[in-house]
Symmetry: C2
Subunit: 420 residues, 2 copies
Amino acid sequence: MTLTDGRRPGSRGVAADHVSLRRNNLSVVLRHVRDLGPRSRARIAEETGLNKATVSSLVAELVERGLLREGLADSSRALGRPGQLVELDGTGVCGVGAEINVDYLAVAALDLAGDVVLEKRVPVDVAHLEPGTTLDRLAELVREAVTAVDVRHGELAGVTLAVPGLVQVETGELKLAPNLGWGELSVAQEMRRRLGEPTYPLHVDNEANLAALAAYAELRRTEDESLHDLVLLTGAVGVGGGVVAGGHLMRGGHGYSGEVGHMPVAPPGRTCGCGRTGCWETVVGLTALLHKATDRDDPVRDPSLDVEQRLAGITRRAEAGDPRTLSALKDVGTWLGIGGAILVNILNPDVLVLGGYFAVLGPWLKEPLEKAIQDRVIAPDGGGCRVVRSELGFAAAVRGGAQISLDQVFVDPTRIGATP
Amino acid sequence: MTLTDGRRPGSRGVAADHVSLRRNNLSVVLRHVRDLGPRSRARIAEETGLNKATVSSLVAELVERGLLREGLADSSRALGRPGQLVELDGTGVCGVGAEINVDYLAVAALDLAGDVVLEKRVPVDVAHLEPGTTLDRLAELVREAVTAVDVRHGELAGVTLAVPGLVQVETGELKLAPNLGWGELSVAQEMRRRLGEPTYPLHVDNEANLAALAAYAELRRTEDESLHDLVLLTGAVGVGGGVVAGGHLMRGGHGYSGEVGHMPVAPPGRTCGCGRTGCWETVVGLTALLHKATDRDDPVRDPSLDVEQRLAGITRRAEAGDPRTLSALKDVGTWLGIGGAILVNILNPDVLVLGGYFAVLGPWLKEPLEKAIQDRVIAPDGGGCRVVRSELGFAAAVRGGAQISLDQVFVDPTRIGATP
DNA sequence: ATTTTGTCTGTTGAGCCAACAAACTAAGTT
DNA sequence: AACTTAGTTTGTTGGCTCAACAGACAAAAT
């Protein structure tokens, strides 16, 4: 809508001057090269509508700032002088994402091109630790990532922390994280203190939101540029939802959107962690699957096993064609579709992305899920919504966190590089 | 995000030049005056961050275009030379909205200040007419509105048609309108032909979407500038939903968002119009209320009565304290809250607006509704969501249609007025 | 010779800055 | 009470800067 708003939603736009004009056009060129790949200045000019001379000047500044670099000569066109390819220079800038989850901590550093500089995940039983202790260990991971960025001589665009709970994004305060057993806590402030009041931006966001953003970036990169609306469902003990609508992360009025796990869609059965019955996650959460597929004394329910080991067990049985496992998966898939249909009716996304354990067991869930959606969505052909498994696994949130930090650079390239 | 994108979601921004810079700042000043009321140039400069001289130049151009005008002297400040107030000039430009609904056609013309120039509603039994006949009669109404704008010497910013169905906004094609009994139909093309291929922009949109937009504009005007997220529920035979997220109308990937009526939340009871059972509208639609509150031979079920007469009957009984009516209303209110809680959990709006018959019976629905939401929303304090009755009644969609046409002028004021 | 690229030069247009005249209030002076 | 003076705020003017644009042109290929 306006030159400089960036985040602030529905804002009345912001007065623009020469500086913001320049900033806008730097951003346009930088994103053009990111999205459409290396190309000559002349071609950028042609495609963006900017003047050739202007593109030259913009590219020069972006090269100066270490965001673009000159590549090979472009010999693709038959006639005339070949152009000098201009491409994204990944090495200059990195973003870092870090995640606190129920049974692990994780961190990732991505460079500007989206390539992984460092990715690390350590199992931690967060619910049985003091929050302070967990934050100490997370800070240690973040320091590692920052060091890795330093070693690479990259500038750090920012750090974003992913938390499975209700987060006030503006202040970085956590309101509630039931699965961690955490209440109100100023995560941003605590982390800044532990990291020695760093100068780079540090934000906190909801884990499913960041995972949705990562999936969005991934799908646009690999498949479809015209994709703007997406819903991501992460399956764990609970169910998290992240929504990208019109190309923007949907946060809601107070940042509490996407809480899909407690939609009352199931018949009153087992009591949910929230104290109610009939919540969606009581029929599609991992616990629900285990109860349907196994008896109490089944080895995959052994408390010493972690999530991945359990999933491996279920997968093995499904592959072997075990009828009870297959029936439980079909059941969960159908319930997933019943709730999914609600989301599709309300949000009409282009894609429904399965993350977390839903992605792992996707091959068996997808068919009943798609059928349930087709049956229940009122728009023709299910509103044109496809179901896709996320490829990112448990790294989705940290990748999204790193991505969102890097996004700021693409919105305002003047954040980076010396201003002599 | 960018200077010129306007609508296109998630787009890679657009190259900006001096013209777009100027356009942006014209828009900033115009919207500033609209939203914050008449004020002096000096104050506009101070509040927007633009330079005094620049504001003078921008105001001069906007006055030239007939969008602003000079008002009285501002004697509110104690010291110094009093400023000349600059205010919105409503007279210059108008927008028109028109609506096709199950039992009426309607039209409205609003001027730039949002004041009503003309508003008209005629009962028509659309489902029993040929679509062509209905469009003929709607075209007649639109011509009346356009004439009213002409008489006022106003420039016409655009016409937007509201339809209760699935609409492809870009092309103006209707895909499906079950309540009208209409299938695929290029409404925009048909209307353009009937209006003699007019030069002004003509768009088609979903009725609930436009109603949501009207409610959004109304609430921001009267209450709260910081409001950016809203859900509107229109109660009729079915239930429609419109969503404003982050200050933008949420349309979904294919424009089919907000179809909330068929969320499967109720126990399998009466069969819904869509052929399934358990749809939300089978427990909160007007039909459901009538079945709960009255017997088969009750006078308010007389087929010769229209919606408003029926509602008047129910209201009378509720006011008189009739126990069966009150119990039915409480029931519907609770179910409204159960579905509403799903929406609030997913979207976390600042406000849930009750439109259509929900607004009329709001006094009795609101309490059980709010309780159901408080009980079911996972975010603290119901996610901070208030429940509000819409004041706009059946005019909401046409107002929203007129508004959305006018919005284009606020985004790009250079659309209007001679460019000598 | 032709075509395409990328740079250079001068022009245009819009916002910024500083100075200033105009219009008003407040307070002192006659 | 009438007049003067100082102080404040408004809105305009002229000069400056910055960024995009248009067109010319050299370089590098076929």
